[in-house]
């Protein structure tokens, strides 16, 4: 592998990411899957980086999943997205950031559609006005939330209390990065690093001390493809996708996986449990699996945030072995306690994949 070759590709795929004043659109599903991630993002931007962020409670789903599963017509989707942009305008912002990869891909697709088909843009304006009385302007800058963390990765590294390094050996942790398909596969120039060798997560990993693993199935879908999991009969294909990736990365002995999509960490994390139950197979050492994180969780960890405030207790694959490896302190007893110290109950342990700290 020639690192210089990748750097040449990365040079061709740089994008403008706004410096400040962001309108933040949350994801429909991330707060259920990884409840601390979006909170960590707003905290990092406001408290660590001193940025102005509008976290607007009135925005809705972008309809992305409905659109990609052919449930919601494109005209409806465009009108819903136009409403989000109108909310941004009304709040006095020009820079739109999406928490969700599919939303980001969809916003990009819609803006490109409007650019090439101005009559469609006019039609959308008409639909939105008729439905809500609102008008809108297209964002000056559109980015995914991971683009923003990438942009400030060195500032985060400068404030970091921990690095992605094994505290005992001093060696960098081996990290698998996985990009959501809708980040740059549709519009390579809209993603940092392009579609084939995306750099957005690699940049974070490098800045925070880790070493990126490039394994043969790196580009393969995680299994979250909407038509795979949304149609029950296709779920075998979904888990087969995840398995293919784990089988391919296993030999490289990754310490963790970092993702930037709502679905990828969900599926790469939960399917490890399902695979262990179905096939008796676990990945990682000592039946502990390979822990999977969102980039906000990893940013929060290196900044020294409490792992349970980041929501790591809802991961299926336990994060504790990795926390120990880095040297991040945590209270094992607090894992299943609520914010006021109340006991929330303990989930049933899987039969093979280890879940509790032992």
């Amino acid at each position: 592998m020639k690192a210089d070759g990748k750097k040449l590709v990365w040079k061709d795929y740089q994008k403008d990411i706004a410096e400040d004043h962001y309108f933040y659109a949350r994801s429909c599903i991330r707060q259920n899957f990884f409840p601390g991630s979006e909170k960590a993002f707003t905290r990092i931007l406001r408290d660590e980086l001193g940025k102005d962020l509008c976290d607007n409670q009135h925005h809705t789903s972008c309809t992305g999943i409905g659109y990609h599963t052919d449930v919601v017509p494109f005209e409806t989707t465009m009108t819903v997205v136009a409403r989000q942009f109108a909310l941004m305008n009304e709040a006095g912002y020009e820079n739109y950031i999406a928490s969700c990869i599919t939303s980001f891909g969809l916003y990009t697709e819609i803006i490109e559609t409007w650019k090439h088909f101005p009559e469609t843009l006019e039609k959308t304006r008409e639909f939105l006005f008729r439905a809500t009385g609102r008008e809108f302007t297209i964002p000056k800058n559109l980015a995914h939330a991971s683009d923003v963390i990438y942009k400030f990765r060195n500032e985060i590294a400068a404030k970091a209390r921990y690095r992605l390094v094994d505290k005992n050996t001093g060696l960098p942790l081996k990290v698998v990065e996985h990009i959501g398909c809708h980040y740059s596969k549709m519009f390579p120039h809209k993603g940092v690093g392009g579609a084939e060798y995306p750099y957005v997560l690699v940049g974070m990993i490098e800045a925070w001390g880790g070493e990126v693993i490039d394994y043969p199935e790196r580009r393969h879908c995680c299994g979250f493809g909407f038509r795979q999991y949304a149609v029950q009969a296709n779920r075998g294909f979904s888990i087969a996708c995840s398995k293919k990736k784990f089988d391919s990365m296993e030999a490289y002995e990754p310490d963790l996986i970092i993702t930037n999509c709502p679905g990828c960490p969900m599926f790469l994390d939960r399917w490890q449990y399902a695979l262990s139950e179905m096939e008796g197979k676990t990945y990682g050492k000592n039946n502990r699996g390979i822990p999977v994180f969102t980039y906000e969780e990893v940013a929060g960890l290196v900044l020294g945030y409490d792992p349970w405030k980041l929501g790591l207790q809802v991961h299926q694959v336990p994060a504790e072995p990795l926390l120990d490896k880095i040297g991040i302190p945590y209270d094992p007893e607090a894992k299943f306690k609520g914010p006021n110290g109340e006991e929330l109950g303990r989930p049933e342990a899987p039969s093979i994949l280890k879940f509790y700290q032992e």
């Binding site: 592998m1 020639k2 990748k6 040449l8 043969p216 580009r219």
Partner: protein
């Protein structure tokens, strides 16, 4: 009366045209941006379909004019200005000459295979181009020094940068299909046990003896031809190249690990020539190559009287066709100068 013709490009088209013009009594200056003549053919170990060494063809062409014409090496032409029925030709180092006629024998560039990012050229250690493979053949040490072992499985990817809208080139580069067949046979001659796969869209065996070579590749050498385009290549821990491809005849996806993946890079118009074409106000075609005044009747003339083209400057051609085109250009120039 002897007239002065500037021939730009000392590849096979420029050499042959210069040789014919020289034999007609014209004064020739042959300008080449490299330090030696020969162009791409100089790099080619053996040629299809008869496996003649590339150098042999070059020496044959070069011998005819070695002492009779003026060579200017290391000069890149920056401007060709028509002026009172003549041309002022200027090079990047300030060198200037006048010419009664100019022949653009400027050839082609190899498609930069890095642009097909999914194949990993320039990133994976064992992904090379067809031109790189010719370098290996010329060095005569086989693949072992590069791979650290005798290869067991090698893949050839046809149409890299040709017939590919995503790469911006919808045209066929003409020579790559049969070059892959020739190179696959050469590999089998070096390593009889190696498995060789060619991944193709169509096999365009249009020239004399090409089809026979293709048949021989299948029947004698057991080279596997799989119709289907690669979706991606990646590198495994051992440095092997894992390719994903669909066999469109069987309707099945395949995943195969290769010791070496050879990309058949197509031909593209050199960017400098595209710029020159635009400066001179010549017809712009999307593929960037020069366009003749009339493809049938005046295949070597441009819209600018006295400015001619030969060889692959006007689109992909085989060596045989390039040499014929060069002779045709020389005749057209001679006729123009007489008038």
């Amino acid at each position: 009366m002897s007239k002065h013709v500037v021939v730009i490009g000392a590849g096979i088209a420029g050499l042959e045209a210069a040789s014919v013009l020289d034999s007609m009594g014209h004064s020739i200056t042959l300008i080449e941006k490299e330090d030696t003549p020969g162009g791409h053919v100089d790099r080619w170990h053996e040629l299809f379909p008869n496996r003649r060494p590339g150098r042999e063809v070059l020496e044959m062409l070069y011998e005819k004019l070695r002492d009779s014409i003026q060579f200017q090496y290391g000069k890149e032409i920056t401007s060709i200005k028509p002026f009172s029925g003549k041309f002022i030709v200027t090079a990047s180092d300030g060198w200037v000459t006048n010419a009664d006629a100019v022949l653009m024998a400027t050839g082609f560039d190899l498609f930069d295979a890095r642009k097909k990012e999914e194949y990993g050229y320039g990133i994976y250690d064992h992904v090379i181009t067809s031109a790189d493979l010719e370098d290996i053949f010329r060095q005569g040490e086989g693949l072992n020094p590069r791979l650290g072992k005798a290869p067991q499985r090698i893949g050839f990817v046809h149409c890299v940068g040709s017939r590919d809208e995503k790469a911006g080139n919808i045209y066929c580069s003409k020579v790559c299909c049969v070059t892959a067949v020739k190179q696959a046979i050469e590999i089998k001659e070096l390593y009889s046990a190696v498995e060789v796969y060619c991944f193709y869209m169509d096999l365009r065996m249009f020239g004399r003896h090409y089809e026979e070579l293709y048949k021989e590749a299948q029947e004698k050498y057991n080279i596997q031809f799989i119709r289907g385009r690669l979706s991606e290549a990646s590198e495994n821990r051992q440095g092997g190249v894992v390719v994903k491809v669909e066999d469109t005849l069987l309707g099945k996806p395949l995943k195969i690990t290769m010791d070496l993946l050879v990309l058949m890079s197509g031909m593209v118009a050199p960017p400098g020539i595209v710029k020159m074409r635009n400066k001179l106000g010549l017809t712009k075609e999307e593929d960037g190559f020069l366009s003749p005044l009339d493809a049938h009747a005046r295949p070597n003339e441009s819209e600018v009287p006295g400015l001619f083209m030969a060889g692959t400057s006007s689109g992909p051609k085989t060596i045989t066709d390039t040499l014929n085109d060069a002779r045709s250009a020389a005749l057209a120039i001679d006729k123009y100068l007489e008038e």
